[in-house]
């Protein structure tokens, strides 16, 4: 026989002003199984909770219904109170009579009537509640970091520092990411390579860190504490364990006309290559699209010159599987393609470049050895125009709706560096707003204007017309002078918007994490949980979550590492007991449930059943791994026989609620 207690909260006047709480308590007191029905000013207060606890003990309650605010608010509070009084916490149900009743209805009579109905539904449900025990599942003491840019490197170093194993998966042949391509960093103007490459080396030498370069994540199974990840190690046709990175093969390779992606295609590399001198791992990679040996079977020069015999033209993709307790996403960003904005003539003129291309043009390891020369004729530019916000801050169809955040500062940096190194070069920056929030940022921008005499013009370039004499006519508005300008520029630099890497979206699907419409990963809470995803055990590091500069990226990377470490130090984690379970006697073994399960929580086994005629039949039946199941219930509807049901939200519980509401 059920002994149910009902507790109706006034929430001060929040509920009591529109719902006649006494009437509600009175009415619910008459429901079958209800042995006590009380109202109280603040049920969530300590004395309110004591009321519940005492009633549980005094009346030996088998179920509790609290009519109060949303269960999203205080369900846990009352569950804990029940547990401390010796009642299984899952025998507590909440009727939401505040957010979904008193706050939205004005008429006391109808609000009270509705509150009673909601209370009745909760009583009907609690009749069918079963005590549930939360299980525990172990935590694999290893972290995976996806992406080997500065974000991934920092996260990996911090996790390794705490004593846990970390694997970095990087899709390119080397770690380092975008920061490796950058020349100097703002606002200090120290050289990016000088601060990044020691970290790259540190990562490669840390014995807790394993770097899977030229690799991709192809499959993720499991759940927090217990992910199983498949990593594809793409064939690089060079044995990583043998290659010493001497670089002789890259010198001798006869195929020298391969666009060099590290230098943004501004110069060429060989078919076998090491992206840059400080690459980690410093191992050669063969580009099969260009390698003569791979294409025609004739060449083999690299193989001949390699003294350690590392070249292997027959190498194939390798797949490795590894268990992880936590996963950190650090997939980073890319500048957008500029095809849509050809009023800036990016496709028509080699001297119209993106800011990242300019980084390479100015970098000592870049195509011109650090001397700024025009890509078209290798002459010194004397007038350079920078255009801000290309593809950022746009209306829907026109580009990215967000501010790319880093462009104002790197443009100031570029302008300053150019003026510093080539004082005879005039620099114009067309801006909409100059956005420099950050320590020492505005001071930096002011220095560009005041000390380096960079011409900042409030306005926008509207048309770029390359001319045959090598000059580029830049037509733009100067809003403060109320003039339309024509500048005969030698180079135009476009601050292209940045967007998340294209690999992020399929990865999000694999990880069952959420993304916004711009393909940035969504954090669990925009203010209070900024480095966690909504999926437990998945953390976010760097620009994959939103545009960020280097210091912010590193800060977030360390924060993500801290969160991951917080998980990895635990030996086990408590699971949600509201999970699906299958009644083997009714299961058809048809696999429908398995097909709709987003977590791969359902497996099948052949089981022997005693039949009524005493024979033994072997049947294929489903079983749910309660540690993997997250309790969505998709399987319960896919199951035609109704063998699959969900704890806490069972078929009969929901139907009881329906019945109570419709009574």
């Amino acid at each position: 026989m059920q002994r149910i207690g009902v507790f109706v909260c006034h929430c001060g006047t929040n509920i009591a002003a529109t719902v006649d709480v006494k009437t509600v308590a009175e009415a619910l007191g008459h429901e079958p199984g209800v042995v006590i029905s009380q109202d109280y000013q603040y049920m969530c207060s300590e004395s309110g909770q004591n009321l519940v606890k005492n009633a549980i003990k005094e009346h030996n309650l088998t179920g509790v219904v609290v009519c109060s605010c949303s269960p999203r608010m205080h369900e846990n509070t009352f569950r804990k109170a029940a547990a401390s009084a010796g009642l299984n916490p899952y025998l507590v149900e909440i009727a939401n009579i505040r957010e979904q009743c008193s706050w939205i209805h004005k008429d006391i009579a109808s609000a009270t009537e509705k509150a009673i109905i909601l209370g009745k539904a909760a009583v009907a449900k609690v009749h069918l509640n079963a005590p549930l025990t939360a299980g525990e599942s172990p935590v694999a003491k290893r972290a995976l970091v996806i992406g080997g840019g500065i974000a991934g490197i920092q996260t990996a170093l911090d996790i390794a520092e705490a004593g846990f194993e970390v694997d970095i998966v990087e899709k390119n042949p080397t770690i380092g990411g975008k920061m490796a391509q950058i020349d100097k960093t703002f606002p200090t103007l120290d050289c990016a390579a000088c601060i990044l490459t020691p970290k790259m080396v540190e990562a490669s030498q840390n014995e807790k860190i394993t770097i899977h370069s030229f690799s991709e994540v192809t499959d993720v199974k499991g759940f927090v504490g217990n992910f199983t990840v498949t990593i594809k190690k793409k064939a690089r046709f060079v044995d990583e364990t043998k290659c010493t990175g001497c670089g002789l093969c890259t010198e001798k390779c006869p195929m020298k006309k391969v666009p060099n992606e590290f230098n943004m295609g501004l110069d060429n590399r060989t078919a076998i290559y090491i992206p840059f001198a400080q690459a980690v791992p410093k191992v050669a990679t063969i580009d099969p699209n260009y390698c003569m040996m791979m294409k025609t079977g004739k060449c083999g020069v690299c193989s001949k010159v390699c003294s350690v015999g590392a070249i292997d033209y027959k190498q194939e993709d390798k797949f490795i599987e590894q268990k992880y307790g936590a996963i950190v996403v650090a997939t980073g960003f890319n500048p957008i393609k500029l095809d849509k904005y050809d009023e800036f003539a990016y496709n028509q003129c080699p001297d119209v470049v993106t800011s990242l291309e300019l980084e390479r043009l100015m970098n000592a390891a870049g195509p011109n050895g650090g001397t700024l020369l025009r890509p078209s004729d290798k002459t010194h530019p004397h007038k350079i125009v920078f255009v801000q916000c290309v593809g950022s801050r746009c209306d829907d169809s026109k580009g990215k709706p967000y501010c790319s955040k880093i462009c104002c500062m790197y443009t100031a940096k570029h302008a300053m560096l150019i003026r510093e190194k080539y004082p005879d070069t005039e620099v114009y920056v067309f801006y909409i707003d100059v956005r420099t929030p950050g320590k020492n940022f505005d001071e930096f921008y002011r220095r560009a204007v005041e000390q380096y005499n960079v011409h900042y013009i409030k306005g926008m370039v509207g048309k770029v017309t390359p001319r045959s004499d090598g000059k580029i006519d830049v037509q733009a508005s100067d809003l403060l002078a109320n003039e339309q300008l024509h500048i005969d520029a030698d180079m135009v630099v476009l601050a292209a918007a940045i967007e998340p890497d294209k690999t992020a979206r399929p990865l999000a699907t694999m990880l069952t994490t959420q993304m916004d419409t711009n393909d940035f990963f969504t954090e669990a809470h925009p203010k209070l949980r900024p480095v966690e995803s909504a999926t437990a055990g998945i953390f976010l590091s760097g620009a994959c979550q939103g545009p960020k500069d280097i210091p912010e990226t590193v800060a977030q990377a360390s924060a993500a590492a801290a969160k991951a470490i917080g998980l990895l130090v635990k030996d086990s984690i408590t699971c949600n007991p509201c999970v699906a379970h299958s009644d083997e006697l009714m299961c058809n073994g048809c696999s429908s449930c398995e097909k709709v399960c987003p977590y791969g929580a359902i497996t099948y086994t052949d089981k022997e059943f005693k039949m009524p005629d005493r024979t033994i039949a072997v049947r294929r039946v489903a079983s749910v791994n309660p540690a993997v199941c997250q309790g969505c219930g998709a399987c319960t509807v896919a199951c035609p026989s109704g063998a699959m049901d969900l704890n806490g939200f069972s078929n009969s519980q929901i139907m009881a609620e329906v019945d109570a509401i419709c009574k």
Binding site: C394, D395, S397, K398, F430, G459, G462, K463, S477, Q484
Partner: protein, 127 residues
């Protein structure tokens, strides 16, 4: 500030001037900029402020080539040319405010001039 005129121009153009982020790209791309007293970005801003009559009385409204460069290149989809058109219509719709007089036309003609030029002028400047 003329509220009625402002509302009329906004309704007639179908443009939401509040979307403008004041980048000035419309004026940066406008081929008629130098011929205009008020420039495309000013049209948008002045309509937002309700300063319509100043625009109606300016020759600028007849200098727009309706080439839609500002419409296509505006990062915010504001469509300044439609604002110019709406102001011009507000002007020529007023009695006796036709910008062109049919009597003037013959002296403008030459043998090769396509009549599309005349049709267009009538369409744009006369009510």
């Amino acid at each position: 500030m003329n509220k009625n005129l402002k509302e009329q121009v906004i309704r007639s153009s179908g443009v939401n001037v509040l979307k403008c982020m004041r980048c000035g790209k419309c004026s940066g791309t406008c081929p008629s900029y130098d011929e205009m007293e008020y420039h495309p970005h000013q049209f948008v801003y002045m309509v937002e402020r309700g300063d319509i009559e100043t625009l109606m009385n300016s020759k600028s409204i007849y200098k727009c080539l309706t080439c839609f460069a500002c419409v296509d290149r505006c990062p915010r989809n504001v469509e300044p040319a439609k604002v110019v058109e709406a102001v011009r219509l507000a002007a020529v719709r007023q009695q006796g405010n036709n910008h062109m007089n049919p009597n003037q036309i013959p002296e403008m003609l030459d043998d090769d001039l396509p009549q599309q030029a005349i049709v267009t002028a009538f369409r744009k400047y006369i009510k």
